[in-house]
Symmetry: C2
Subunit: 406 residues, 2 copies
């Protein structure tokens, strides 16, 4: 056994307390695998936790951690991009490796923080920031390293997948499914970041940066959530053997740029992603040599996320004072290609009669559902760009427009 490795956790919320629990519960085999005892020394929180078994670790002042040379690894589970960023920078500058589950911080400041970590010869690791406990960051950066990655496509948000699953399986409206998700603790009181797609957007930024080597900023990624998905759309999708799923995609273009976006899609029920239900996440990676591989599991939750954080802690512990090299280049206008050029089939629901649709689109695949109001028409187009489909729709009253993934 080597010398003890000391860990400080920032933020004793859901994930932070899960990290403390996993470290305590599995410490025998964790220490054995790392060949050193991992010791939880501090937990930073504004609150006290007198009844917690970890209550004696609580400190309120970050500088205690920052200035303690015994602390090797800082676990940041505060969330957000303000105080979390400040503490992460100070920890890295103090020569401590930082492990995080904070997708907002990595998606916004990842390049800067990775550069700062490199400068100080320490690690900045974030397996838990995407897909909860699903291993994806390390497989993407290591196991698939021999591949040129062509595309990443994933169901990246468990809350929206739960809502869509309940709409599809139980016939609940969006509002009712959201209320149920909130009751079950799958959606927050303010669900905006989930249902508007911002959470999925941050995750596809991180995956895209890892796969394609340049930082991708959330504001470069067109993002559409699921608030405009209706039960009518769910029924039409079912009529053509498809399901509606919120996908984050990052696709390498021939010119080397990356086309990245988040939007609802119709996908075949036979597609491996089509079978991903409830709060589960799944991420498909297409490499030039390996073809499609998929990673599947619970994308959130206290213990799954904590287990990913602790795996990173173990990795950092094995590489104390020598950086675990994960990095990408700076962002910029040359990184991201507009999604407008991306061709696909489209699902359209419009208030128009079939003749008007035929006049605008030519031959299309019409869809039917029980109880459709007069003049509602739904159909699948052939492959075309968004501007092409929008221009054909110019004279029609559009109700829904989603891409079809084939």
């Amino acid at each position: 056994m080597d010398m003890a490795v000391n860990v400080a956790i920032l933020g004793f919320g859901t994930v932070g307390s899960g990290v403390a629990e996993v470290l305590a519960k599995n410490h025998t085999h964790i220490d054995e695998k790392v060949h050193a005892p991992i010791r939880l020394k501090y937990i930073l929180d504004v609150r006290d936790f007198p009844d917690s078994p970890f209550g004696d670790k609580i400190v309120h002042d970050f500088s205690v951690i920052e200035n303690d040379p015994e602390v090797d690894i800082v676990v940041e589970t505060i969330g957000g991009a303000k105080i979390a960023r400040e503490f992460t920078e100070r920890a890295l500058k103090a020569g401590k490796s930082v492990v995080t589950s904070n997708k907002e911080l990595v998606a916004t400041w990842g390049y800067d923080l990775l550069s700062l970590a490199k400068e100080h010869g320490v690690s900045y690791l974030f397996e838990a920031s995407v897909g909860g406990g699903i291993p994806i960051i390390r497989p993407l950066s290591r196991c698939l390293a021999a591949n040129e990655i062509e595309e990443i496509c994933g169901i990246l948000n468990g809350t929206t997948n739960y809502i869509l699953t309940r709409m599809i399986k139980a016939g609940l409206s969006f509002e009712a499914a959201l209320a149920e998700a909130q009751q079950n603790g799958y959606a927050e009181k303010d669900p905006t970041a989930d249902i508007e797609g911002d959470d999925a957007c941050r995750k596809i930024c991180i995956l895209g940066a890892l796969a394609f080597g340049r930082h991708i900023y959330p504001d470069q990624v067109p993002t559409e959530g699921i608030t405009r998905v209706t039960l009518a759309d769910v029924a039409y999708a079912d009529a053509c053997g498809r399901k509606i799923k919120l996908l984050g995609r990052a696709i390498r273009q021939a010119d080397g740029r990356v086309c990245a976006y988040v939007a609802p899609h119709l996908i075949s029920s036979e597609d491996p992603l089509g079978g991903v239900e409830d709060v589960f996440n799944a991420i498909t990676v297409r490499g030039d040599a390996v073809g499609d591989v998929m990673f599947y599991g619970r994308g959130a939750g206290k213990m799954p996320t904590a287990s990913a954080v602790v795996a990173d802690v173990m990795d950092a512990a094995r590489h104390i004072k020598s950086m675990k090299y994960v990095a990408w280049g700076p962002g910029g206008d040359d990184v991201v290609a507009p999604t407008d050029g991306l061709e696909s089939a489209w699902y359209v629901r419009a208030s128009a009669d079939a003749d008007a649709v035929r006049a605008a689109f030519g031959d299309v695949n019409f869809l039917a559902r029980a109880g459709a109001p007069a003049k509602e028409t739904a159909f699948l187009t052939g492959p075309m760009t968004r501007s092409q489909v929008e221009s054909k729709l110019a004279g029609l009253e559009k109700l829904s427009l989603f891409r079809v993934l084939d």
Copy 2:
């Protein structure tokens, strides 16, 4: 850039030539990621390949590679456990890291070879030995390291999954589906190792050893292939919303031992494993913190397997002369628990009437299929061990008996 890393490939067959191609095709980004140029120096084969772009690398004498101090990494894609074992041992003793896709060798001699690698301070890596290009070895040993693994369950053989898929979807008999698989190059001329389950057995041995920390030998793992699966069984499975899949399982028992076996199972079509078709593989890992995660992709094939080998080569190149630590303890009689104690529901097809079945089993779930001969009865039992179900079947003429995975 660091100094060049020199690689020798043993065996210029399907996987070996794929490795040479991936190294050549993606060398720019491979070198960049490793921070050193990876150079293919030798290919060992008994044949010459005058028309191959790699023809000038061919050597016929292993000692050329063994005695060249410039060779850092040896890629073993010979297969089998004889000459491959000898060359692997000699390479490790010569201080070279070895990367392999050879599941037979790892399943049989893994503990000895890992110990030898450790003794000589080099790496022995085998990501490609299970699941082709699907990342599983590294995720299991690293990303899920914070978990106590409870169970591994997988569709580990693409050939048998293809045959079963064709039986289920196209109604082909086992023999016809096998012939088709051979025509398509998915099954070998002598398909024994695939259809009798030996290939899946080797893979579950490797996964079990990694997850539970002790070597598991193939002859400790009861193995049943798919040769006794009939179209009648496929039809009955369909009647209860299930599919027949060949699964390899390794399950941690309360006493710390591992229950490992390979056999056909009925699994729900809704189960993520139930949707895995054709030559695809999928491996589910259950950890105490993360819950179920699944890894999915092409489990075989030249380029997927080669991409996994090259990822290991890159990892070994980053750790030249310092072992990449993957290891497990020795095997023994105390490692493996008999499968007899494992309870499950069972699918039974028998030549018996319903009354005789009821007399033996009490209340069961009878299944129906079109065109069943008189006196054929099929049913699902409640949970019981194999000896329990066998003893109840004593007076009945058993036709098929498979576990049900719930």
